[in-house]
Amino acid sequence: MSRKILEVNSLTKIHGTGCPLCLASTGPEADTNICPYCGSVVAAHGVSFDLYQGEILGIIGESGSGKSTVVKTLYFDDAPSAGEAVFFDEDAQYDLYSLNAAQQRSLRNKRFGMVYQNPHLGLNFNVSAGGNIAERLLMSDVANYGAIRERARNLLVRTEVLENRMDENPKKFSGGMQQRVQIAKALATRPPLLYLDEVTTGLDLSVQAAILDLILEIQHELGTAMIVVTHDLGVVRLLAGRTLVMKYGRVIETGLTDQILEDPQHAYTQRLVASAL
């Protein structure tokens, strides 16, 4: 059994002031994530899971169920309201939410990678494709121009962005190409943990397939652990060994992806699977 890389315990994120009734009055049974008493949004509550080295974990669920919230809090884009997460690095472990801002930034730059659905969030459109990769390398204290060029070139070649477009602004690239640059950027520091939030949504089917292949190849080559957020069951079927199903901010089902897709226990999952067939 491989090494545990991430342990998430009771992660909770509430948007709004919150009140003592928020948690009891939201969730799948209540059929809402908005507290009827104070109007706060319980975007995620009580989310717990473990992730192992080289594993791909899927998170599925309908729009608004809290999938992005989970990866955004883990990547420090957003602070959780409660809960904890422990990252087990090669020679140290970090209690993510008790770190100070500089320590969080350092982990985010060096040990985590994120690929967003919207390339505007992951790429700096004021600089070239290579410059985007350079930025991440520079953040982790690589200070040699030649080495940065070399690494950026290799990453872009690996993610099948044409090498001769390295010095172009990614603004001009196609959607699929922008996702490839985002993936190259996320991989720049060889992070052991990668978050992918709807990375193929909105792309042509053939482009989607090629990018999913790339993600699988990377996982095989580098042994990168990944959390893949999607509402597309085909994506988790292809990528994820295990899957969490979310509804109204809660995890309602969890298990091996094959089992969940073949034999969904929860009525909601059954509907999701049925509608995807």
Binding site: N124, V127, S128, Y145, A147, I148
Partner: protein, 309 residues
């Protein structure tokens, strides 16, 4: 009608140095803090000065807070002591600081206020250099929000400035920043060293003189204390370079007035009297140029006097 400006009677009671003692003390306290945290942009209550902000009011407040009647002041603007701005500032100090001597000679000054240049002649421990700063924050080119810039400075998060250098190298094969070259002080804060040319940036490093930078409009004071490390931002394998002033055939240009080949040169257009391209070059530091000329004149005279003796 009296055409020269005189202090109105009710202003004649102004304290030495125009600013009241309380204001000067606050600036001096800020200076001490700035020295303690090299490169940190220390906020202070910038006062209104009887001239527009953007005309060196930040530098002037530093000068007025530091100057005493036994000081000798030199004021330069882009290297020249006789430009309008330099003359105005110098006259203002003379008018409001009775007893202060002024000079154009770098070595005679105890206090030097400058815009855009650091004198060619090495400064000493006995001197203080005050630089006027229009834009104090080197990060302003990559981050619009001041709150975020503060965090970036606090965490020494300067990767986005380095990305700018990277992009420069990709596009132009060289770093094209000519002025305001981002410079890291004492291993942490990166400063905008004011619009000095690259030529002057190495003079910040291990400077014997205290260097103070004042931005009046932005209400910031920062310092490069004596004997402090100041490193221009660069890559390991692409080193920082100063202007080389080479002509087409690779020769170092010289000052057309004094002949110096080791000074920062200003370029002028001169159709009649210039080089083939109609350009002539002259020392930007007028005091340095004058000194070279004077030295040549005395070297020319010496043999004569020896002959006579």
């Amino acid at each position: 009608m009296n055409t020269t400006y005189e202090l109105p009677l009710d202003e004649a009671g102004y304290a030495f140095g125009f600013m009241d003692e309380y204001a000067k003390k606050e600036v001096r306290r800020t200076i001490l803090k700035a020295i303690c945290i090299p490169g940190y942009q220390t906020p202070y209550a910038s006062r209104e000065m009887p001239m527009g902000r953007g005309f060196g009011t930040g530098g002037l407040q530093l000068t007025l807070s530091l100057i005493g009647s036994d000081d000798t002041l030199k004021v330069i603007d882009q290297g020249a002591d006789d430009s309008v701005n330099a003359v105005n500032l110098r006259q203002f100090v003379q008018m409001t600081c009775p007893g202060v001597d002024v000079t154009e000679k770098t070595e005679e000054a105890t206090l030097i206020q400058s815009r855009h240049r650091i004198p060619e002649k090495p400064l000493t421990e006995a001197q203080i250099l005050v630089l006027q700063v229009p834009y104090p924050d080197a990060l302003v080119v990559v981050e619009a929000s001041e709150a975020r810039r503060k965090t970036m400075h606090g965490e020494a998060d300067y990767s986005r400035l380095l990305v700018k250098l990277y992009e420069d190298l990709v596009k132009f094969d060289e770093i094209t920043i000519s002025h305001r070259y981002p410079t890291r002080v004492h291993g942490h804060y990166i400063i905008d060293p004011s619009p000095i040319p690259r030529w002057d940036v190495p003079k910040l490093h291990q400077s014997k003189a205290l260097i103070l930078l004042g931005a009046g409009r932005e209400k910031k004071i920062y310092a490069v204390p004596p004997y402090t490390i100041a490193e221009p931002l660069a890559f390991e394998d692409v080193v920082f370079r100063v202007e080389d002033f080479r002509d087409a055939s690779g020769n170092r240009r010289t000052c057309s007035r004094c002949g110096a080949s080791n000074s920062f040169l200003d370029e002028f257009s001169d159709e009649a009297d210039g080089e083939a391209d109609g350009k002539i070059y002259q020392c930007s530091d007028s005091a340095y140029c004058d000194e070279q000329l004077a030295r040549q004149a005395s070297a020319y005279q010496k043999p004569k006097t020896e002959e006579a003796a």
